[in-house]
């Protein structure tokens, strides 16, 4: 049992923390969002220079071979700064799938530039009727003359506006799940881009095009296993990001309670509010434990991994909501405004739960496996 960080991990943590503190204060963050374009931002290029983009990938594909803890440290710092870069949706999740499922030519064309920070990718899986279920798309792929014809519609595809290529899920002829690599300029791909309420970038995508046979990256069991692995990593990463954002929301709320005077005394002297602040802190520390549990479970056998990651995601979804709502409440009217930093943390903490399965979805997983899980 050892909760201490290795020297390398401590260095990584310090590097990313400093970078985020220097380059993503609220004004810089606002500028990053306003100046968002399809080419990588200066901050993203710095990520590349520091090796952060190579960190999650194995050395075999040109990565640095980072593990779940490395990912946790990075995501926690990104959460603390509410960094508006699609580290998870543009890099880690699609990159893991490509690293595992692509052939040499596809990796050369799409993965190497990804790790070097030259472009980003996106995983297009969500549809109007899919909710959090990735395995049952209605977008269909039919094969004829050694080509695939894809038809369907994807919604709320995070980071699609910034992606050079999309990984698109589809149902193959024989009802098997398939994953296709689709360059974003493909004819027949129509996007409607928009921001989400927590300042992410997303698209709805109409799909009606034909692809060469090689565009099918994987299908069936092989794909399911790779998706489960990538989603487990993604969920653990979201847990860590939430913990980072909860830390900042708690710090800002505590500062505000000490500073704000009402009835001739600082709010922090009111016992009812002291206890509320303590409850926020307890939620934060419990959430931190769950994020550690998730990060250290990624190398366990699939079932054990998925059970623990589901537990962490369900727990943190609820804890993040408590912290977000109380942060607003304790800031009073100020917490309701765009100009108040904590409001942006609250928005992210609430909407982070809408990614890769929310507290209800994952609690159902825990409920279903309660008496069989180890």
């Amino acid at each position: 049992m050892d909760f201490s960080l290795s020297d390398e991990q401590r260095m990584l943590d310090e590097t990313v923390s400093r970078l985020v503190a220097d380059r993503c204060n609220p004004e810089q963050r606002r500028a990053l969002i306003n100046e968002r374009s399809t080419s990588p931002s200066p901050l993203w290029r710095t990520f590349a220079e520091l090796g952060l983009l190579a960190m999650p990938f194995s050395e075999a594909v040109g990565g640095l071979g980072g593990d779940g803890i490395d990912m946790m440290l990075i995501m926690q710092s990104l959460g603390r700064g509410l960094v508006p870069e699609a580290y998870l949706d543009g890099l880690v999740i699609p990159g893991m799938l490509l690293a595992r499922l692509g052939d040499d030519a596809q990796r050369d064309r799409w993965l190497i530039p990804l790790l070097e920070g030259q472009h980003q990718l996106a995983l297009a899986w969500h549809e109007a009727s899919s909710r959090y279920e990735i395995n049952t798309p209605t977008t269909c792929a039919t094969r004829s003359d050694n080509r695939w014809k894809l038809q369907g519609r994807k919604q709320v595809v995070l980071n699609a506006p910034n992606a050079a290529a999309l990984l698109v899920t589809a149902r193959l002829d024989d009802d098997v799940l398939g994953l296709f690599l689709v360059p974003s300029e493909s004819e027949g791909l129509r996007r409607r881009d928009y921001a989400t309420l927590d300042d992410q970038y997303a698209s709805d995508i109409d799909i009606d095009f034909t692809l060469p046979a090689s565009a099918l990256l994987a299908s069936g069991e092989n794909l399911r296993t790779a998706l489960d692995e990538a989603l487990a990593m993604g969920r653990a990463a979201l847990c860590a990001e939430a913990v980072g954002a909860m830390e900042r929301a708690c710090e800002q709320t505590l500062d505000y309670l000490k500073e704000r005077q009402q009835f001739g005394t600082p709010l922090s002297r009111q016992q009812a509010l002291q206890h509320r602040m303590v409850d926020m802190y307890l939620h934060l520390e419990q959430a931190r434990s769950m994020a550690i549990l998730a990060a250290t479970s990624l190398t366990l056998p699939d079932e054990q991994r998925d059970y623990r990651v589901a537990a962490a995601k369900a727990y943190i979804g609820e804890a993040a909501q408590f912290v977000a709502e109380q942060a607003i409440q304790l800031h009073g009217g100020m917490g309701m405004t765009e100009e108040c930093s904590v409001a942006h943390y609250a928005k992210r903490l609430i909407l982070i739960d809408h990614a890769l399965g929310d507290r209800d979805y994952h609690l159902d997983t825990v409920i279903a496996r309660l008496d069989t899980a180890a």
Binding site: R131, V156, T196, I328, Q329, G335, A346, I350, A355, D360
Partner: protein, 398 residues
């Protein structure tokens, strides 16, 4: 003991329904249904319809244009309006300043302002909160100094809801800086077109422009625009805060929100079934339903007491706490029920300027912004923490 509505009350409900079906413009109804923001014109158009029917001011005495409804009838009216997706009446004129003018105002003030409120000539806003005076309202600093027949007003108000549309503001100002906190406050009616008034928008976290800051810089207000005696403003403020509090639980809105939630949960897929068939989510809806049932009966108990002559006191704090918590929980569950579809922020659609969304997207578009917007319910009008202090002190004697 009998919880049934009387035959007359049921007939009244039918009358309200018939009116709403005929009078509520369908474009406005549709915007309210989808959670889109209303323009000033749309608010006024609806309130003019209500006024034509004589139903804009249920809380006023009949001689000034009120309806003479009992508290139960008012409750039925509010419930039916919410169920029909009618806009909420902008309260600052008809439900807030008007009762103060009727109770404390001069005959001239009544003659001038009341008809203009009824026919929507004036749009009122509230000058209460200040940057340093929120829950602790009596610590307000905006000062009014006497200069002949005028007060010269200087200071800053904030959280001024829909002040961008307003041409009148009722305002708490300090007329005596020596007197202790509550004693030096007066209640002024200020024409927003007076030189020296600047209104600046505050954008809230849901992207809406609903509230404002109002800066007052050497604003000359005629002394005849003071309501009540100098230094008696706190009495007016307290009266306003306790008047018409029976609707404070927002039950009509909560009922409508629960219907909507069930509708969303029926439409949403979840692991091959409808979300409403997921036992864990269903349980959470059920718990909200129990809370709603309890709150409705509590509300009716307070209404019945009011009908029989008792003035609602600290009970309104109870209704506000539980009502705001319930409505927040319902908006929370609705957002969660929509899953990833709750993520997009279709700002143009919400402002009513985009008709390109499909039906499901339009149906989902307002859920997250409404969730964040509803956080205000436990903050404004005396934060819930303040309401609990009132219950502890007034009801429990602690």
């Amino acid at each position: 003991m009998n919880l049934q509505f009387t035959t007359a009350e049921n007939a009244f409900r039918d009358e309200v329904r018939t009116f709403l079906a005929e009078a509520l413009p369908s474009d406005i109804q549709n915007k309210v249904r989808l959670g889109q923001r209303l323009s000033a014109e749309e608010h006024v158009r609806w309130q003019n319809r209500l006024n034509e029917r004589g139903w804009l001011a249920p809380g006023w005495p009949v001689e000034h244009g009120g309806t003479g409804w009992s508290p139960v009838e008012k409750y039925i009216f509010e419930e039916e309006c919410a169920a029909a997706h009618a806009p909420t009446i902008v309260p600052f004129g008809v439900n807030m300043v008007a009762p103060v003018i009727i109770r404390f105002g001069s005959e001239d003030q009544k003659r001038f302002y009341l008809p203009r409120i009824l026919n929507n000539t004036d749009w009122w806003c509230q000058g209460y909160s200040e940057p340093g005076a929120g829950s602790d309202l009596a610590s307000l600093k905006t000062r009014a100094e006497r200069d002949g027949d005028y007060y010269i007003v200087n200071g800053q108000k904030t959280w001024t809801t829909l002040g961008q549309h307003a041409n009148q503001m009722f305002c708490l100002v300090r007329t005596d800086s020596q007197a202790k906190k509550q004693a030096g406050i007066s209640f002024l009616l200020i024409d927003m077109n007076t030189p020296g008034i600047t209104v600046r928008p505050i954008i809230t976290l849901d992207g809406a422009h609903e509230v404002n800051e109002v800066f007052l810089d050497d604003v000359r207000v005629p002394v005849k625009n003071r309501v009540g005696d100098e230094g008696e403003g706190w009495t007016c403020a307290k009266f306003l805060l306790t008047h018409e509090r029976t609707g404070i639980a927002g039950l009509g809105h909560a009922k409508q929100a629960l219907r909507h939630l069930k509708d969303v949960a029926r439409r949403q897929p979840h692991r091959g079934r409808a979300l409403i068939e997921s036992w864990s989510f269903r349980e959470q809806i059920a718990r909200a339903e129990l809370e709603l049932m309890a709150l409705e009966v509590t509300n009716l108990r307070v209404l019945a007491a009011a009908r029989d002559g008792g003035a609602p006191g600290a009970e309104s704090s109870l209704l506000k706490i539980r009502g705001s918590e319930l409505r927040q929980r319902l908006s929370d569950l609705t957002r969660r029920a929509l899953g990833p579809q709750a993520l997009p922020f279709f700002a143009d659609f919400l402002a009513g300027n985009d008709d390109s969304l499909d039906e499901e997207q339009a149906f989902a578009a307002a859920a997250s912004t409404q969730y964040f917007n509803r956080r205000k319910l436990s903050i404004y009008g005396g934060a819930n923490e303040i309401q609990k202090n009132i219950v502890a002190k007034t009801i429990l004697g602690m």
